[in-house]
Subunit: 425 residues, 2 copies
Amino acid sequence: MGIVVQKYGGSSVADATSVKRVAQRIVATKKAGHDVVVVVSAMGDTTDELIDLANEVSPLPPARELDMLLTAGERISMAVLAMAIGNLGQEARSFTGSQAGVITDAEHGKAKIIDVTPGRIEKAIAEGAIAIVAGFQGVSQTTKDITTLGRGGSDTTAVALAAALHADVCEIYSDVDGIFTADPRIVPDARQIPQISYEETLEMAANGAKILHLRCVEYARRNDMPIHVRSSFSDKPGTWVLKAEDVTKDPTMEQAIISGVAHDRSEAKITVVGVPDQVGYAAAILKALGDAQINIDMIVQNVSAAATALTDISFTLPRADGQTAMTALARLKDQVGFERLQYDDSVGKVSIIGAGMRSAPGITARFFQALADANVNIAMISTSEIRISVVVAESQVENAVRAAHSAFDLGTDEVEAVVYGGTGR
Amino acid sequence: MGIVVQKYGGSSVADATSVKRVAQRIVATKKAGHDVVVVVSAMGDTTDELIDLANEVSPLPPARELDMLLTAGERISMAVLAMAIGNLGQEARSFTGSQAGVITDAEHGKAKIIDVTPGRIEKAIAEGAIAIVAGFQGVSQTTKDITTLGRGGSDTTAVALAAALHADVCEIYSDVDGIFTADPRIVPDARQIPQISYEETLEMAANGAKILHLRCVEYARRNDMPIHVRSSFSDKPGTWVLKAEDVTKDPTMEQAIISGVAHDRSEAKITVVGVPDQVGYAAAILKALGDAQINIDMIVQNVSAAATALTDISFTLPRADGQTAMTALARLKDQVGFERLQYDDSVGKVSIIGAGMRSAPGITARFFQALADANVNIAMISTSEIRISVVVAESQVENAVRAAHSAFDLGTDEVEAVVYGGTGR
């Protein structure tokens, strides 16, 4: 049998007991005849504790040194996990990102993987050992300094290693059973999705679903690496993320037009009121935001009232960037001559996602009718080929998710008792 | 000015406050015009905490993985120290043992340094940065695995780097002001030694003085690297460890025959009673101990009583090895035909050390008379060219140290309020 790459997040290795449980699962996979490569995050709160320590000595720690510090977290967890596996009678060898051949650019704190040269990993598994690799870290191709990959880095490490090793599958373990049709904390009859395409998963991740990070799914899609999202606390099959043509149509659902409903409460909305409707003014606004390193999400420009020749431009952005954006825009007031700025951080985004909507007419109407029936007012709309998103009042997010989930018959009869949590890094 | 290598032990970087204090000292050295390379141990109790964690998952952790785990300790302290220095406006770059070019053999947990290739350190200081290097660790030449150097490893890293960089001096910082003529906790008028030879320091270290480790002094002697032993809590000059011919004779002492009195309470004594006085029996006993990896220190064989043709063989060894040694010897009982074994772990060793004794007659008599006057009974004696050691009852160790210190006029008039502590690793 082939190579299986397994990734365990921080909550799966939070303490010695959890580490031992994970070790048993890894050994079981090895005994089933697979070559096993494991990518592991830092134990529990280690990363936060290390950041606290850094802040005790410096208000703005140099990025190179912060990476050196934080990578100690995975070093600890991988060594301890290797020991726990050794204690079960299987040889395990731990490797840093650098030793595992995870080559990155030199952007400390948010490095990108340039190449993976896993010679030492291949040697270890050829010799019968289980290889344990530190997630979230690599080594800069140019400076030879240690780097960290930023958010989603451990998942991305796992997928990148799986691709470089031509593994059969990359299993991503967390404390959740898989990907659901909606957040089960909001929709009690949400159903676990057995298989889903990369494209749909990307739209889910980009629109607030917290199971997999965008980067990791992108990497898997580019390399056609199957991901199996599973819980480290159970043996249930999870959710397979696959090429669209490999996804088996669910026989219990005649027309799986919509795969799931995602929501996101991390955005805010800014409206620039009274912009002169002239060429170049919208561009100036967007340039100012770009220069301030702010990624905007949706953007809507109203039709101008002919009498005034003034228009409003609204957009959404991460709430964390709200203040920076408002400051950057305020500086433009005289140049652009707009009337005023409005800032609203009590908004939420609800999205329906499904590859089936490409060929099914009337989806938008059905979605909007469901929202209307639930008395949810729509503030902004944006669509892609396989997604429709609306911005609503934050207080209406849960209503909107339930209405959409029900309108597209996504529910199951069994209500699962699961907690829909976030992944670490 | 040239390169200064500074080594700070775990007690000097126990918490954020200590790290900031050490950072100021380092920056002051840099501002005085030196190129500065710093070797640092793990913060405070970090190493013990990591060992506890390892023991939670495995009673006998694999040595390779234990090294991977423990090296996280220095990784944390060096990164945090680099941040604290950066906060004072100086650039500092941290380097793992591997990055600093500390090449070792593959003996995990007690690796020996084979070579030091500090190209990245030289580049960093050439570019004006302060280099911070993780002590106690290296990388195996053959396996490319991370190794630790065992006891005294951080001091040895510092001396080895200083030698490879052709530094002017290797400064070893701890919580003690320097090397003293005796332990000031036992001898209140013990005097700090301004300068002392490598050979005397080696004898002090080998006979219970806890300031410097044997390995580090050996390395310095072989490479003629001056060591300056200092406190990180004060600016006082410490003790210089130098080539014998470079040691300035203390003008206040007419004849510095004896440099210091060392004592050691870590040994036990085993006596094999009633060994047939025949060729090969003593050798068989020593071989059995060697096979059990036990280093014996002193050894004494009584003259046999002609009537019985039986003799007694006594030796001292580390108390920690007592049980192993007794087990190994008991197995020999029938083969050698000795009468019985005696084990005594309430013994201590007191040594006077001084290069001057080479040319001064009567030193042994003066030492033994002082012990007799203090009612100290001598159980065993051993000597080298520059040392005389006696084994006494543990309860008599302090008496014996004071008697010897006084007999050779080692005291000072000022009583220093210092704590004579041990170095970490």
